[in-house]
Amino acid sequence: MAIRSKTFRETYYEDIKLLQTLWIKIWIGLFILGLIVAPFATDPYVIYLINLSCVATVAALGLNLLTGFTGQISLGHAAFFAIGAYCTAILASDLRMPYWVCLPASGFFAAFTGLLVGIPCLRLKGLYLAMATMSFGVVVEYVVITWEGVTKGVRGIGIPTPKVFGYPLDSNEKLYYFLLAVTALAIVAATNLVRTRIGRAFIAIRDRDIAAEVMGVNLTKYKVMAFAIGSFYAGVAGGLYAYLMHYIHPEHFTFLLSVQYLAIIIVGGLGSILGSVFGAVFITIIPEFIKGLADLLTLAIPALQDKYDDGWNIAAFGLLIMLFLIFEPKGLFGIWIRIKTCFKNWPYTY
């Protein structure tokens, strides 16, 4: 990333600071303040959408670390998400475990399965890896439906309300702060991760794996690590999803969900933390736009009455993936950077 002019860094400490300038600190501060007061200012539905975006952000961060940063295509992200969700659901409903056991347990269990998938997938890349992860996703879906003794099959599992210090999070507004906190933690952790040796190794593997190995990056170790970290995020996100929805069902975790996460990171920006957040929010609110658009269309063409259903949203995901890949491969993050540089350099063009 380009350093803006008139920025002088004199010590190493200044160079590694997370928030570089005063203005960034002020903007981030205002943004966080805005999020904190949001429940008092907006209606509950907006809060619900933000909650969904939080879950999507955490899962997308994991996929972006695996696919965007390390370059390992995964079409089975929904499987890890499902594993996390079921882990939380079973621990919370059958064993009455508190949230601070369930969420990490979901993460670690998903990471463990990530290891199991990642190790045999080490030899594969590109198309082959995409197919292997996709078939893993199908197998997990099958297991979730069939293994009724544990997952209750198509009946689904209800999840009790989580309690934080004895205080029940029984509404969307109360869950909101909890989800925000976990998401913020996930974002900071991911941002820091990609700045370390591990993150640089991931990027080196993505850019050219053989060259990375020659430079001393242990391919086996870092590829497996990417799988484990990516699935850890997915597992935690699955746990959050279970708490948010109060009820999970095998139909929530199909191949389409994996594609939706890929849509998030493509639309947001591959290999960018901020991009994952943009993408997650964008893809979560897109159905609302389409619903509005469908309403407008019905006003114009009455024949379309009651034609709106989920298919429109999925069609929009597909269209967005294609349009972004053809016209804006860097995603929303790329647009963001362009707008920012435009303002920064004004009135000059560069």
């Binding site: 078939s135 893993f136 199908v138 069609a315």
Partner: protein, 298 residues
Amino acid sequence: MDKGLLFFMQLVASGIALGCLYAMIALGFVLILKATDILNFAQGEVIMMAAFICYFLVTALHMPFLLAVVLTCLSVGLMGILTERIILRPMIGEPVFAVVMVTIGLSIFLRSLAGIIFGHTNLVFPSPFPKETVSMGGIILSQTQIWIMISTLGLIIIFFVFFKYSRLGLAMRGTANDQHIALLMGISVKRVFALIWGISFITGAIAGIFLANVMVINLGISFVAVSAFPAIILGGLESIPGAIIGGIAIGVIENLAGGYLDQIIGGGVKDVTPFVVLFLILMVRPYGLFGKKEIERV
């Protein structure tokens, strides 16, 4: 013949019929892969579209079956050429991930579009094949299954002759072998790409019409193509004979697993077997039976 053996033979025979369908679908994948190095994840939706179009032509417009088949093939082939021109050509030179994702985007777009246009109800195709079954030494097959086998054989012969003797077929093989040299030899690579997409879509359309005859038509028909992935991996991604042998092998394995394991584990084994096989092949022999072995040494 004793009962156990007969059961086994019956499973194998209907497995071959199923495998022929997989082989047809796999051919559609492999043609594009070989020439353009793109795995078209939207092939399943092509199959589904063909099934819907053919159903529409036969039931709503009361066309004779053969005319409907020809029209379906033509329209779907045109769709293939347009897909290449509009969506895939701007992606030339982009990384594998981007190209794969474009075809996945296309696939979910087409599937939900079909849902919006044709609805989510199950449609039953008025089968042109007689209902009577044929019995051969105790093995019972339906006429549809036999026609599937015959048309797969016909398709294989047509492809063989086309790629071996026709000018265009040779141009396509040349392009698959080396695009730059093909270009230098005066082959229009762009035209070859567009045509190969058209041909692959037509192969998918034929498979789709047969699928419409053996199962109900709904959006789920597109997932059959996903079950054909193991076939192309087993065959080695870029090999046409590999796709056919792989397809038939997967069909037989799937049927045998369904016949024997369903009693032990419970229903649904049949649907998940291809993926377990796919996973195993990728672990043991990723380049398949006839694939190029890419050697990388560090």
